[in-house]
């Protein structure tokens, strides 16, 4: 089994062939540029170095709770100029997907307000709720979960107010043979602080997959449908000349490998060096790794190695 190489341990020759081996970088955001608590030191230097040698940058995040505008502002705060078109997040990807299949039906959605706003702005009709706790009886449950509306797609992403009645209601809509199941972010556990993980939306989406027997259409990483959408949109005809950068094995590395991209894992977010080295699934082992994106700047000879 090939072991991933630390980019700062590459020989001179390996270094230059690596740098020449890609034209485009697709990068994750959370855990790479910043965590919930702080920004990753000198991460901006890494991207600046990449841009200076002509690499094109696209950011693909699973986080739709933050709007694209907020994201652009956060980039600006650490000195990066990023255009909204360079940022992909599940709400936007789902809109693109639904438009690509000319979807016109009613949607039942479990997601954040921000996420719903993106779909509403694109003209889609949404149902949601119950948005308050229900009276604790089977009668009341029945009233809240059996809907006669002709829902033809169930969408699930991060919802801080997700409840069991919402999932039960979604499952009942999915009994209709034409009702699609679409998921955004797939993370089963989400790192919110050092060593602290919370249960992510992927775990709840799996409940719907299991109960309905339907495959989900996945428009967050590592979704196949998201890969198709991005490869098509960016007109990538040589996937091997794309470098995927991210901090999560199950989302970023797996997504990159599935698309045929090269992969670089950074240890500044949700994966430790021990976890990386213990991984045995080839689909989750990156080609390269680095302590953080700042190492890319160092590799390209732009800045001293950061010691965090």
């Amino acid at each position: 089994m090939a072991k991933p190489q630390h980019i700062l341990q590459l020989s001179e020759e390996q270094r230059s062939s690596f740098v020449d081996s890609f034209d485009r970088v697709i990068s994750d955001i959370d855990g790479v540029l910043w965590t919930l608590e702080h920004s990753v030191p000198r991460a901006a230097d890494g991207y600046a170095a990449l841009q200076r040698i002509g690499k094109q940058l696209t950011f693909v995040t699973n986080n739709s709770v933050r709007t694209v505008e907020q994201c652009v502002k956060s980039f600006a705060k650490i000195g990066m100029q990023v255009q909204p078109e360079q940022i992909w997040h599940p709400a936007q990807s789902i809109v693109s997907y639904l438009q690509s299949i000319k979807f016109q039906g009613l949607i039942y959605i479990i997601a954040s307000q921000q996420f719903k706003a993106v779909l509403r702005e694109a003209g889609f009709q949404l149902l949601d709720g119950p948005n308050e706790f229900i009276e604790e009886s089977y009668e009341s449950l029945a009233k809240h979960i059996f809907g006669k509306e002709p829902v033809r797609a169930v969408i699930i992403d991060v919802d801080f107010n997700l409840t069991s009645p919402k999932l039960l209601r979604a499952h009942l809509y999915l009994r209709h043979p034409e009702c699609l199941l679409i998921e955004g972010a797939t993370d089963r556990l989400l790192p919110v602080a050092k060593g602290v993980n919370i249960i992510g939306p992927g775990a709840f989406a799996s409940i719907l997959v299991e109960a309905s027997g339907k495959q989900a259409i996945t428009l967050g990483k590592p979704g196949r449908e998201l890969g198709d959408l991005i490869v098509g949109h960016l007109k990538i005809d040589q996937p091997g000349r794309v470098l995927m950068i991210g901090d999560m094995l199950a989302q970023d590395v797996s997504f990159g490998r599935q698309c045929g991209f090269q992969t670089l894992l950074v240890l500044s977010g949700g994966c430790t060096r021990e976890q990386l080295l213990a991984e045995t699934d080839p689909q989750l082992i990156p080609d390269y790794y680095a302590d953080s994106v700042a190492d890319v700047a160092q590799l390209l000879g732009e800045a001293p190695k950061s010691r965090v």
Partner: protein, 314 residues
Amino acid sequence: MSSVKYLKNMTRKERDEFFDSFDLVFCDCDGVVWYPLRDFIPGSAGALAHLAHLGKDVTFVTNNSISSVKEHIEKFEKQGHLKIAEHQVVHPAQTICDHLKSINFEGLIYCLATPPFKEVLVKAGFRLTEESGSGIITSLKDLHEAIFSGESVDAVIIDVDFNLSAAKLMRAHVQLQNSQCLFLAGAADALIPFGKGEIIGPGAFIDVVTQAVGRRPITLGKPGEDLRKLLLDRHREIPPSRVLFVGDSLASDIAFGRASGYQTLLVLTGGTKLEDVQRLPKDHSQVPDYLADCLGQIVPNNPESIDCDSAHSA
């Protein structure tokens, strides 16, 4: 399917042999004795009286903790004119309560269940956490508060909770990262029959926490391993082959009963249709030994059981 014996097609002799083949009956309630949360199914009271008349011991094994053991007994009395003793009703609130007593548990409990379930624990003297934040979560800060604030607990219990939320499950997950914290589950059905179909059951949510934490709960509702062992233990004097498990769910009753080596009887008055049984491969773990349209069919020439067809379409 071919190996399943349909009660209504059995000869007199086969029936006699069937009744001679068991001494103890474990019987589900919802979808078997009565329609879920409603009235007795025609014929079932007669069938239970018939079993008592034949000298069979009957214990009711239900996953429904919405009604207390006392309420179950009153319902049997009032609607079925049947006298049932307390020890004859097994439900998760009670089995969990008994388990906690047996280990002299004295700590604080985070309990995700219905109010009647919690009442059983409170009445037995156990301490439950205060309900925290039922408010709407609008920010990561709120979420953080809902998950991480509040006292640390010594046990987490998950059963049916009508308002189970992501935040509650996350709090359970965080508490369970302490390896000393007990993890208990009640009803663990992946799906439960409801109305004309099935809805997602507590088992799906228990699995989410199990996977996140990386350890399994002690499961004292169907189809939990620990309940299975508890039932075997309670009746060690009776060989499992002389026990009949009656239920309406392939996963929660039939597979559960078969795993203990019990004989099994599936009734079609609840969540399972004949086609569901016919679809199963012959050696599948959910194939019952016997099949009846309704419980009443176990009584020979029961006039009420003629209504079986109308009974299970109701």
